[in-house]
């Protein structure tokens, strides 16, 4: 610079504030056009926010459904037959007593679905007479297992250890099955026939919080079932454990040892799923596809802005020539068009963020969910629009800088 003669005139300049003011003025004077140009970015950014927000929201809902009940349930499967075909039943006869010694267990017991031949029916009269409730399962369940199902009694009582020890012929049935069998009250001591065997209905439960499908089954004391129909088929029995809150994983580790110290490998304890795994699984599944769609929207938005800005450059050739005549350098013209496209992108980003949030809140209202949107999403979305606009404006701005002023002014 020092070698050349000193500048005869002060160079022209364009302050950031003036460039912004020009861009905003350009947008405000053509509001309809600005809105249409920004529409692509609105949709792109809007779907980004909606997808991210809905994903976060749905993850939160699953966390909510992962409640105390599932967090305190451990089941132990009998896999003895798979390990050794001569192993016999996996669970010992005193399974319930053994589990009572394990800390952290509230209720535990063995249960299995009894295998009956097809002619054996359940009904108010012996098999082959009356109107049996077909398809009714008979479930052998020790008193601890019944308690672990968390039943709500409607009438009567549950059977206890006494009934178990004495091989009593008592059953507990669900309210649905009771209605189907025509049993409305226990005051008349109603009887129930499983095949030819009569049982006394001890209690009717209104609800089971765990395994509610057993509301349509007949629950029989384990010892009674074993005496009448023999031991369970290999692998059919399982142990249901209701643990104290937070003890489930330790109980799952200990239960096979407590039940079969000689062969813990014959039993397989299933702990409750880890809630953190649940959440990440859902997020990965959902967001991948939808984020891709949102990205495509954003690219379409960028192409829209690029196209409109390019058309504007061609349309405003005269204006470019005039600005050059007024002292604007090529880079000033570039800066102006870049600022305009970036402002359009930022506007689209802001509107899109608002629409995306409204979508999330709207869906949550309908589905009765709690909306969850990460603050980073809300902060980054308008920026995404701005960057989209900037990128879209690069080529048109370059074209604008190359417009020959003499040529442009001839129009």
């Amino acid at each position: 610079m020092s070698a050349t003669p000193p500048s005869a005139v002060a160079p022209t300049r364009l302050s950031v504030r003036d460039a912004l003011a020009e861009a905003v003025a350009g947008m405000l004077r053509r509001p309809g056009r600005a809105v249409l140009t920004a529409l692509g970015t609105v949709l792109g950014v809007g779907s980004f926010v909606a997808v991210l927000g809905l994903t976060a929201t749905i993850s939160a809902q699953i966390d909510g459904r992962f409640n105390v009940l599932t967090a305190t349930e451990v089941s132990v499967e009998d896999v003895a037959a798979q390990q050794n075909e001569f192993a016999g039943p996996g669970f010992p006869a005193d399974a319930e007593q053994r589990l009572r010694a394990v800390a952290g267990i509230e209720h535990a017991g063995v249960l299995w679905t009894v295998r009956l031949d097809s002619r054996t029916t359940v009904g108010p009269l012996p098999s082959g007479a009356g109107d049996p409730a077909t398809g009714t399962a008979v479930v052998a369940a020790s008193p601890g297992a019944v308690a672990a199902l968390v039943p709500t009694l409607q009438q009567g009582r549950l059977y206890d250890d006494f009934a178990e020890r004495g091989h009593e012929r008592v059953v507990v049935i669900g309210s649905g099955l009771a209605a189907r069998l025509g049993i409305t009250t226990l005051a008349t001591r109603p009887a129930l026939y499983i095949g030819q065997e009569p049982f006394t209905v001890a209690g009717i439960v209104a609800d089971l919080e765990r395994r509610p499908e057993h509301l349509m089954s007949v629950l029989v004391p384990r010892a009674t079932a074993e005496q009448l129909w023999g031991p369970p088929a290999p692998g059919a029995a399982s142990v249901l454990i209701a643990t104290e809150l937070g003890a489930a994983r330790q109980v799952a580790d200990l239960a096979p040892l407590a039940l079969r110290p000689d062969h813990p490998e014959y039993l397989k304890a299933v702990p409750p799923p880890d809630p953190r795994m649940l959440r990440s699984g859902v997020t990965a599944d959902l967001s991948a596809l939808f984020l891709l769609l949102a990205g495509i929207c954003l690219v379409i938005g960028a192409v829209g802005i690029a196209n409109t800005t390019l058309v504007a450059v061609l349309e405003r050739t005269g204006e470019i020539g005039l600005r050059r005549a007024l002292g604007a350098r090529g880079r000033h013209v570039s800066a102006q068009f870049l600022t305009e496209s970036a402002a359009l992108g930022a506007l689209g980003g802001l509107v899109g963020t608002s629409l995306g949030e409204m979508t999330v809140v709207g869906v949550c209202l309908v589905r009765d969910w709690t909306p969850v949107i990460h603050p980073v999403t809300v902060a980054a979305a308008p920026l995404t629009g701005l960057v989209t606009g900037l990128l879209a404006g690069l080529y048109p701005a370059w074209r604008a800088a190359r417009v020959e002023p003499a040529e442009a002014l001839r129009r």
């Binding site: 005039l322 600005r323 005549a325 002292g327």
Partner: protein, 240 residues
């Protein structure tokens, strides 16, 4: 560099004005490289002194546009020396040619070149956008310039609501507001009816009377007669 810039900003009337001519062309010509090469402007000499009202007249295709582009620093001559306000423009880098154009020349075009969605005031203030004058001052000066051309009452109107004569007055106000050394008018009445043309030419007379150097390029001998001196251009040759 910074010191120089500050000096020239404090002093809007350049110190080198003195008695040097506004325009001094010495053998200035423009040949577009071929093939085949086109000699759009034959090497010519022309001196425009401060405060002159000079017209350049010629039929279409005579090289008027080329002359305007060279005189307005929109195009660089391929031969000769062009001194504007005593500054040799040939040696200047593009950045300073642009600055010189923006600060020392006020353009008036046949087609006005007003921004359609901006008010008259904003259109006039636009002339100072690139010269580093604060926005508030730009608006004050733009209002004064509109007053000067008799449009003080239409500052808020967009060009679409102005008559042709009013539009050209806004354009003249825009050319004036930067206090240029030269008002360069290209067919200023070409798009106007005779009444509006007369009023615009009257305005140019007034500005000349106030000391402005005015150069009008036209094909119309009637308009050319308004100048105190007329130069004819034909086939790219200037005939003083």
């Amino acid at each position: 560099m910074r010191l120089l810039r500050r000096q020239s900003r404090q002093d809007p009337q350049p110190s080198d004005e003195g008695d040097s001519p506004v325009i001094e062309l010495r053998g200035v010509g423009l040949t577009y490289p071929g093939p085949p090469p086109v000699e759009a402007l034959h090497p010519c000499d022309l001196t425009v002194r401060r405060g002159e009202f000079i017209t350049v007249v010629g039929p279409s295709g005579s090289g008027k546009s080329t002359f305007l582009n060279v005189a307005g620093l929109l195009d660089s001559p391929t031969s000769g020396r062009y001194l504007l306000d005593g500054i040799d423009t040939a040696a200047l880098p593009d950045r300073e040619r642009t600055a010189l154009r923006g600060r020392r020349i006020g353009f008036v075009f046949q087609s006005f070149h007003l921004l359609p969605h901006r008010s008259a005031l904003e259109n006039v203030a636009l002339a100072m956008l690139y010269t580093g004058i604060p926005r508030a001052q730009r608006l004050v000066r733009a209002r004064a310039a509109l007053d000067q051309v008799g449009l003080g009452h239409r500052t808020g109107a967009v060009p679409g609501r102005l008559s042709g004569g009013e539009r050209q007055r806004v354009a003249i106000a825009r050319a004036l507001v930067g206090r240029p050394s030269l008002l360069l008018c290209d067919e200023p009445t070409g798009n106007l009816d005779s009444a509006n043309a007369a009023s615009v030419l009257g305005l140019l007379d007034d500005l000349h009377g106030a000391g402005m150097t005015v150069l009008v390029i036209t094909h119309d001998p009637e308009v050319a007669r308004r100048g105190h001196r007329t130069v004819t251009i034909r086939d790219g040759r200037l005939h003083p």
